[in-house]
Symmetry: C3
Subunit: 425 residues, 3 copies
């Protein structure tokens, strides 16, 4: 599942204040994922037991036990992320991917996280939501010097409570988050049966402004993004949530965009059971089918998947389930092009005017696109064109799934083939 690369110049040059020469020899090699598919986590082989999280189109970081400390190694660096088949983006991330690997630890764990900066500018990591000493909080200039280019910094803290957290830079923050730097940080409860669910999914909402035909996000965009993504992936590139009928399911969602995203699940109602501030007590929970995730906040929702079928899961802002498009286009609805079309067809046999009857045509009949972009509406389901993009995927609730052991990769596999079979273009 992972490859291990030795760090080139980066690993050799540690921030003197943070890592001594003796520690240097002991830095764990960073791990890298292969490809953009969901890496189903295995049960942990060292440290306290826990039920791992399934990071959609992502993976969890391995660790090394060292005298009672769990040691991780994150490498901040430029990455190339396939956002969906046919479209790649030049982003910044950790360990070869954006988002970085999910960090999974257990309440009571002591963690030591080495952060090597292979970006072209300084950085830090803030451990969003985690209670820790002020010097470990990762706010550049305020609680630490920023990590210079080429240097490694070490964070050490003890996890005093379980919950759903994130990590991201607090240095040149707008730019570094607009480039994709973020990751999930899950602290499992000390008792693996507390808050237990059968499937536990996680992803972070992000958004990019990449002009069709180009590769690098515009980092100054405040509202007019054109790629609305989950873990830096867009439909039809987002893996489905494969669920056995009757499973109790948790979905953990963080938001590091510039606007609220109301995440809507079809076919089931749910409750928010956890935020980045902790677990929500039973008396305070609301029933919902759409949970509005604020920026810089996290929500974990839970439900029992008792209705079999393919249930849409998506942001309910309709522009956020579209591929790249312009937002200042005159309406063609009701405009009669027939005279024009007739004249044009004599000149250009394949000529067709678009949009005067709505845009559904565009979901059915995909048009030539510039290199390295995605259609505005795409995807095909069992009944035809799905006409979506962006923040959309499907919860596949099935009777026929093998139960297997929690965390066994086979347990996540859909019986008919790959996890995403019907949705991949």
């Amino acid at each position: 599942m992972f490859t291990r690369r030795s760090l080139l110049t980066g690993a050799a040059a540690f921030a003197a204040a943070a890592v001594g020469r003796a520690a240097l020899a002991a830095v764990p090699e960073p791990a890298y994922p292969q490809g953009p598919d969901t890496v189903v986590p295995k049960a942990p082989s060292t440290g306290r037991p826990f039920n791992p999280v399934i990071t959609l189109n992502g993976w969890s970081a391995p660790w090394r036990m060292n005298n009672g400390w769990k040691e991780f190694h994150l490498v901040a660096e430029p990455v190339v992320r396939e956002m969906a088949p046919g479209m790649k983006a030049n982003l910044w991330g950790y360990n070869g991917q954006s988002p970085g690997p999910t960090i999974e630890v257990v309440e009571g764990d002591r963690v030591r996280i080495f952060v090597t900066n292979k970006l072209p500018e300084h950085t830090t990591i803030h451990w969003h939501g985690i209670l820790l000493p002020n010097g470990m909080d990762g706010v550049g200039g305020l609680t630490q010097p920023q990590i210079p280019v080429g240097k490694t910094y070490v964070y050490e803290f003890e996890l005093t409570k379980s919950g759903t957290f994130m990590y991201h830079p607090h240095a040149d923050e707008m730019v570094q988050m607009a480039m994709g730097m973020m990751g999930l940080f899950i602290v499992h409860p000390r008792d693996a049966n507390q808050y237990r669910v059968d499937r536990d999914f996680g992803f972070i909402l992000n958004a990019y402004d990449i002009d069709p035909g180009s590769y690098t996000p515009k980092v100054s965009t405040m509202t007019d993004f054109n790629l609305w993504s989950w873990n830096s992936r867009v439909f039809p590139g987002i893996d489905p949530l494969v669920i056995r009928r009757g499973d109790r399911v948790r979905i953990r969602v963080g938001n590091l965009t510039m606007t609220n995203h109301p995440i809507h699940l079809h076919g089931h109602d749910f409750e928010v059971t956890c935020t980045d501030g902790g677990w929500v007590k039973e008396s305070a929970r609301w029933p919902e089918v759409t949970t509005d995730i604020p920026v810089g906040a996290m929500r974990a929702v839970e439900f029992v998947a008792n209705a079999p079928g393919d249930w849409a899961v998506h942001c309910h802002k309709s522009h956020h389930t579209m591929g790249p498009m312009g937002h200042d286009v005159p309406t063609m609805i009701g405009v009669d092009h027939r005279g024009l079309a007739k004249r044009m067809i004599t000149l250009v046999p394949d000529f067709m005017t678009m949009g005067e009857r709505g845009m559904a045509d565009m979901g059915e009949m995909e048009m030539p696109l510039p290199d390295n972009t995605l259609p505005m509406m795409t995807g095909t389901g069992p009944f035809g064109p799905i006409e979506m993009g962006g923040m959309f995927t499907v919860a596949k609730v099935r009777e026929g799934l093998a139960r297997g052991a929690y965390g066994d990769p086979g347990w996540y596999q859909h019986p008919k083939g790959t996890v995403a079979y019907e949705l991949k273009a």
Copy 2:
């Protein structure tokens, strides 16, 4: 209150997979409303008893009982909606209006809904928030083929829980919702005394981008809308909420725009008692005077109207209580035009520079407008110009209302005359 039209070509051509020849003869005729005023619902004459909802500037669909099934007929089609006196829009809706009629049923009911597509492109209906079999979920391509132009499709399901829901297309979704396709779907509790209130209002928040002087919304707009509406109506075209002092009142609000709308009520605090996920238990309720309705979500709020008077009810984003206006205008505040004005007045006797003392002038002295648009600030109340537009109306809490029977049209009428008397231009 309603007229019944026979369907022309649409009704004759049913989707073979969905409606057999035998069923065809039995399809109920669709009903149409007359005019844009609130149609106060009557108590139901067939099926289980319930206390009906008052749809602001809307109406509830009639049904037919057929062997224990409640049968409704929705016709998706282009409509002309008067958004306020003096301004009409070319929208898409159901049964001659946008939004479509409110569907009101009772927990335990089995419903059969015929949907005839008279739009220029395919469509579906998704029953937002309702627990139903996957094949009835209305997601084009994923759970059903889209309904072709001219065809009729049938949805059948049983209502397993009461609550506040919506319906809208899940086909070319961004376009079809930007054109106004949506409606309320209320499931009343089996016991009509459960969650009982004295007045139960409902509306859906929508937004349009229609250039002054034109009639059809721009369907690609993502944020820069200029008509912020409730049930496709804007102030002063939104009927007031007529309330008897001491009534327990519920207001149910859905949001199908592209941004949160914080709905603010003056003079009373309230609690959210229901979402599109179900009823909120007592222990979990918060007191509020402004409830933030996320996109793709619903909130029902309740309060006892114990303070008589005219209480504003509005979205608290100040641009959303304005009529159409530009958002990129230089400020004139503090700019001294006096020299200019003096010279101009010798040339143009009626010349007046605007905006250097704020914009209140524009609420008092309405200017000539292009055809088919609305003033930026308008409306007159008992004490002068109200200077509003968009998402604004008034809760009229009165001692003097006749009690009458719930659901009796007279019971909604203000004693002094029409429901909206002071606010209509």
Copy 3:
């Protein structure tokens, strides 16, 4: 702390309907603050006892007891607000400042508030969230005539419940709020020990669109603001929250911008304990580290400050912790300027290309700016450049603070010097 100015023409001309000739002589003189720093309130010397609120970079209005009524005097007028050292704005406010003074009263108090209009256009005041008679609700045209230029109007009501409220105009509302007219209105509980905390902070979120080099906000802007402020101040001009370790702390935040602001606190989790609708009961409270403040709503959060250090407090929308900047700039990341730079340097020795390695350079090396604007990223902390702007400050949790008496100005002072010593440029 305050100065008292006699009102010039304004005070001499009262709205006849509101203030009689006899009352005129009795109008209290309005008070004015000196400078933009936080004025730490003293314990009240008349009326019921309460524990005062610390208004960040603001102050609380004095009152006069008159036969059992608390009398306040607000003067609506143009003001000049220093938003941060080096940048002033021409705003509208109350009593010489934007926001106006915080009004602090006690449950059961009867208040009489004189409002003198020295703006160039009419105005009103709406007492947001407060339960009062309809005629005192301040909605121009609907519940009262607007207050003409030069006139004084009187509001009178009794406070029937404690909580966290605001005041703002309901006349030419979009313009007057875009110009900065707003203030906090705190009603303390009748029993000063109910809901007691050790430090109680308050501020209102506002936003302005002021072009670099100019002074007056553009009042028609709907989304593309460039100054995201708290109490009309931006980082590094926002005073820190000085807290003694172990204190129970409340932060009350209102939002009168055009978008949600998710306010994030580092190092502590908290609960929302109060909204503008009232106190949230214990069973309904959620743990959070980021609370999303809707527009036209208020949230009070509470926590025990048990972790010493400098903890960031900020809006988590990354553009809202930036100074003025453009939002439609091409990305330079990954663009290789070396050839260009080499040629340019021979021509212009100090030439430097920017942005190809991110934007952190801009936080470290401030560039020449036009008159009267602020850098995009600024501020210096104990470890170097903080690279922030806008809605950002720091909670300084310290062991070494003198306890003093609540409300004693010395009690708020940081032991090392001024309250904001490290952060002021």
